[in-house]
Symmetry: C2
Subunit: 274 residues, 2 copies
């Protein structure tokens, strides 16, 4: 098998060979932004949304993207054409750059990766477990590379049989390490309004849900999740994933609920039509 | 001028050429640890303390240091001998490593950098300004590379004429982005006890201060700093640095206080004798 191509600053090169200088501010201070979208059957659903967010994240961290949207889009599709996966993941990464003093941002390194898509190793039929964890991401609206808690918590997640930490701040729910969270209660779909990454899947799921149900985007307390009829999470790689347990508390009867199942189906239909 | 040498995994190479693969988890998720110490006149004061903390940070983030203390010490002194600065900075960096899925830690990349020492560009005679900022580092006792707030706040610091943000959590002081904080009130030296990086300079400054003054290591409220007689910060590159203003509030008469000045002198004497 040949190694896939990736993009690095101004050229395409085999992923296996691509390297950056050791002075990069992402290595020294965890400073950088990224975004991740999916190629599905040769198309990239909601690419415009992902590019919007990527440029917004870069501006939020005061990093200059060294190409305009047209060039970025062109580079992405060149990679897809060369790598020929058909279904794949696309990651755009912009670092703080090669810095003289290991502290001040300089000329960013920009990379685009394209890798085979592997569905998350979880049960969409049975649902998954989360664990509550108090933490608030810094600048949550920007997709920075700061994932220390999410990565660090992995052994605990494994031990508990959970897939992600569900973050809250003084009992107000926000998001999981890599996804947005939704509750269903008395037929109403509800999701936290603030201090979160504005997920692209979240945005479109809200649009889909509004066609069938009442939707509330507002502050959500931890207590509400324990009395919810249904819970699910949304993300680019998982789309809609039912949640059936938080810590030791089983949600409702411990199976994915009917509204979650319907939204899973409707979302797949919606994304195919886009 | 020839480029200095650095150490990368298993060999020494010119810093200008040293590169790591783009799959490193520090680039993708800001996951890694480091430490920084100084060579002063060919010696490295408190090196044992710095190595202790580095191995503790690595263990805290569940990263394996690919060499024992003896080898690490040997590599450091080999760099100092080759680079011949006499006075320099030494940075040890251990990343989350080259990962297959951009999320799970793998074999770490380990680097040692040695660069000329530049004294911080601040006035030790006149003292410096800090700005208060609410933030709590995740796993503060480990020296992770997670410096998003410190790096991100730099334009604001510059605008305000401040050198560092002073972090607090609900009004309880912790530390600055890169240093520990001390107050002097009614002849007593006091410094926050918890949720901080245990600074090596902090530790030795406490030892020095105890020879002359009463020292309290305890929780410190933000309000206390505004009524303090003196304020100073400690760190590896700055040793003891007087603080004369927090936001718009001038500390006492706006000049470095007598106890701070004495501790600055005594600390320099102490470090020379070590």
């Amino acid at each position: 098998m040949s190694t896939p191509l990736c993009f690095l600053n101004d050229h395409f090169e085999p992923f296996a060979c691509a390297k950056v200088h050791v002075s990069d501010l992402a290595l020294h201070r965890g400073y950088g932004v990224f975004d991740y979208c999916r190629e599905i059957g040769g198309k990239v659903p909601f690419l415009g949304d992902y590019l919007d967010r990527f440029y917004r994240s870069a501006a939020g961290l005061r990093l200059e993207v060294p190409m305009d949207r047209g060039q970025l889009r062109e580079n992405i599709f060149h990679l897809l054409k060369e790598n020929k996966y058909g279904d794949s993941g696309i990651k755009i990464l912009l670092t703080g750059g090669e810095t003289g003093d290991f502290y001040h941002p300089a000329k960013p390194n920009m990379m685009i990766f394209n890798m085979p898509y592997h569905a998350p190793d979880v049960s969409f039929d049975q649902g998954v477990k989360l664990i509550l964890f108090e933490y608030q991401r810094f600048l949550p609206e920007f997709k920075s590379i700061n994932y220390l808690p999410g990565v660090w918590l992995q052994p605990l997640l494994k031990e508990k049989g959970a897939v992600e930490p569900l973050f809250h701040l003084s009992g107000r729910l926000t998001e999981t390490a890599r996804a947005n969270i939704f509750l269903v209660n008395k037929g109403v779909v509800c999701t936290p309004a603030r201090d979160i990454l504005m997920g692209i899947t979240r945005k479109h799921l809200i649009a889909v849900a509004k066609e069938y149900y009442e939707v509330e985007v507002r502050d959500v307390r931890v207590e509400e999740i324990f009395s919810a009829d249904e819970v699910f999470m949304t993300g680019t790689s998982k789309h809609v994933l039912p949640v059936i347990q938080i810590d030791d508390a089983v949600i409702a009867n411990g199976s994915p609920g009917p509204m979650t199942m319907r939204l899973m189906e409707e979302f797949e239909r919606y994304i195919t039509s886009h």
